[in-house]
Amino acid sequence: MLQINHLYKNYGKFPAVQDLNLHIPRGDLFGFVGPNGAGKTTTIRMVCGLMLPTAGSIAINGVDALTNLREIKKQIGYVPDFFGVYDNLKVKEYMDFYGSMYRMNSFEVEKIMNDLLELVNLSDKKEVYVDTLSRGMKQRLCVARCLIHNPALLILDEPSSGLDPRARVEMKELLQNLKGMGKTIIISSHILSELSEMCNSIGIMNHGKLVTAGKIEDVMGSVFGSNRMIINVSSDMEMAERMVKEQAGIRVESVGEKEIRIVHSLSEQEIAQMIARMIGSGVIVTGFHQQEGSLETLFMQLTGGESGDET
């Protein structure tokens, strides 16, 4: 769906985006994460045709975005991070305005508007003035607006910023519905817990470079591997710790009140033998399992601990 090749953007001498290569397949819900100033918004603006790259190419559905901008605009729905409204405009007029900007007539807009307002749960607000809506409602209306011309690719820049928890949940549900409808969605966000629940693939940017990108499980696997374990111990922690440390091929990462986190290079059989020895020595082992990395840990690890406002 979206293919970015060797994309660069410099602001004067400052490189905002450097050699960005990215492929997002059709139907993906792609989470674009990175600390503030990493180059996410710059990349999004270049994809939307709001900014000319310094070098590189962007293609949407195989169509070059730079030379066929008019065609590309029909395929993109863009929701910016800040939702500006016009005073004295009703919800239905707002939708009609943007529909007519895509050369749709009032009849066509009316037909699709009802479905979209129902999708974003604003059917009963058609006659309400936009500036009187809550922030969450405005954000959902903005999503409905960007769908008015039935684009294949939705790009949302920080869609949940400034929303209350309830509005965030509603937004998440809405995006999952859209994914179910086969839309390709790119979300730039700081709220990593939400992204990890919603997205099936991610890209992490730092200092203008794409650090990693791909399916969430592939990215997690490549970074964390499968050699991290947590051993839960309910008694004789000192002995358990000593036995683990004595075992070759194991490095103790941390020791908590009732758990030991290790990184190992052992086979499954060797791990099982070590656990058996611990139980044989009187240590009560209540469980042991593979340590799964979270998006937060992944993000912190890949960006060297730099975090955004809400990471």
Partner: protein, 312 residues
């Protein structure tokens, strides 16, 4: 015909705000003030000179018309100067730019809105203007001419305003810049004439020559002279252009070709076309400025990309 969506939206939004009502109130109040001032002057002159007040009422036309033109010149740039920068301040501009609207149609929509708003004011003041025609005995055709002139003034002012709005980030800066450009137009078109009279005359050569002829052509782009020519012809039947150029022809011992009427209509036609052209150039510049990815730059980038790929 499909109405520009921006015009439809902007007119709807503005019609619902109190600004337009207060604007019309202020406009009508100024017109009423000028009207009563003029009537009191006519009455004083009438009581001392014993002239017929009805013959003086015709003078209401230029007074009210000039007042309206001045208001348009002041108000229209304010409307357009804040239109693009206002969208940017409201952060709705980016969304607009991702739609299928071309930068030129966005600009055209904003300018049309400003012109329509200007015409709201002018048409609302028509009943007062009509007094000069009913009682003063002027031809009704001049009312139509005035409407066309008001439209041209609106377009010219709006195009300057929108260009400044596209160039500046802050609305207030673009408003000031718009007035600045207006002043430049008035002053710069007089400047060749002033310089010629100062230095051409001082160097011993006669100022009334072919050089002077060329210098006077700059007045074709002078908004003030445009109005002077129009009102002078309407009220007295004298063409300023004809008078200026006949002096040069006399000095060159030549007979001026064509009569005053041809000179007047010719001058007004050329001047109008030039103002339309300049307005169009301002609109093009504004459209180019707001376009983040111009075709030329994009094509250049793609060519560079291809060359890079070929070389390595």
């Amino acid at each position: 015909m499909r109405l520009n969506p921006i015009v439809k939206k902007d007119i709807r939004v503005q019609a619902r705000s109190m600004k337009i009502a207060w604007g019309l109130f202020a406009y009508e109040a100024i017109m009423a003030l000028v009207f009563f001032l003029a009537m009191s002057v006519f009455q004083v002159e009438n009581s001392y000179g014993g002239t017929n007040i009805y013959s003086q009422i015709v003078m209401l036309y230029p007074m009210l018309a000039v007042t309206q033109i001045v208001i348009l010149v002041v108000v229209v740039p304010v409307i357009t100067a804040s239109s693009i920068s206002g969208e940017k301040e409201r952060q709705t501009f980016d969304i607009m730019m991702t739609t299928s609207m071309t930068p030129f149609s966005i600009i055209a929509g904003k300018v049309t809105t400003a012109m329509i708003q200007g015409l709201f004011f002018v048409i609302a003041a028509m009943p007062i203007m009509a007094l000069a025609f009913v009682i003063g005995g002027l031809s009704w055709a001049y009312l139509l001419w005035f409407l066309l002139i008001a439209m041209l003034v609106s377009l010219f002012s709006a195009s300057i305003g929108i260009c400044c709005s596209a160039l500046c980030k802050k609305s207030i800066v673009s408003v000031i810049m718009s007035y600045g450009i207006y002043v430049v137009f008035v002053v710069m078109t007089c400047l060749p004439n002033i310089l010629y009279l100062l230095f051409g005359y001082g160097s011993g050569s006669d100022p009334l020559t072919i050089g002077m002829f060329v210098v006077l052509l700059f007045y074709l782009l002078n908004p003030v002279y445009y109005l002077v020519e129009f009102f002078m012809w309407t009220m007295t039947g004298i063409s300023g252009a004809y008078e200026m150029f006949s002096e040069i022809y006399d000095d060159l011992s030549l007979k001026i070709p064509f009569n005053a009427s041809v000179w007047h209509y010719g001058w007004m036609t050329i001047s109008t076309l030039l103002f339309l052209l300049v307005s169009f150039l301002f609109l093009l510049l504004a459209a180019k400025k707001i376009n983040p990815i111009s075709k030329g730059r994009a094509r250049k980038l793609v060519q560079q990309q291809m060359q890079r790929e070929m070389h390595g």
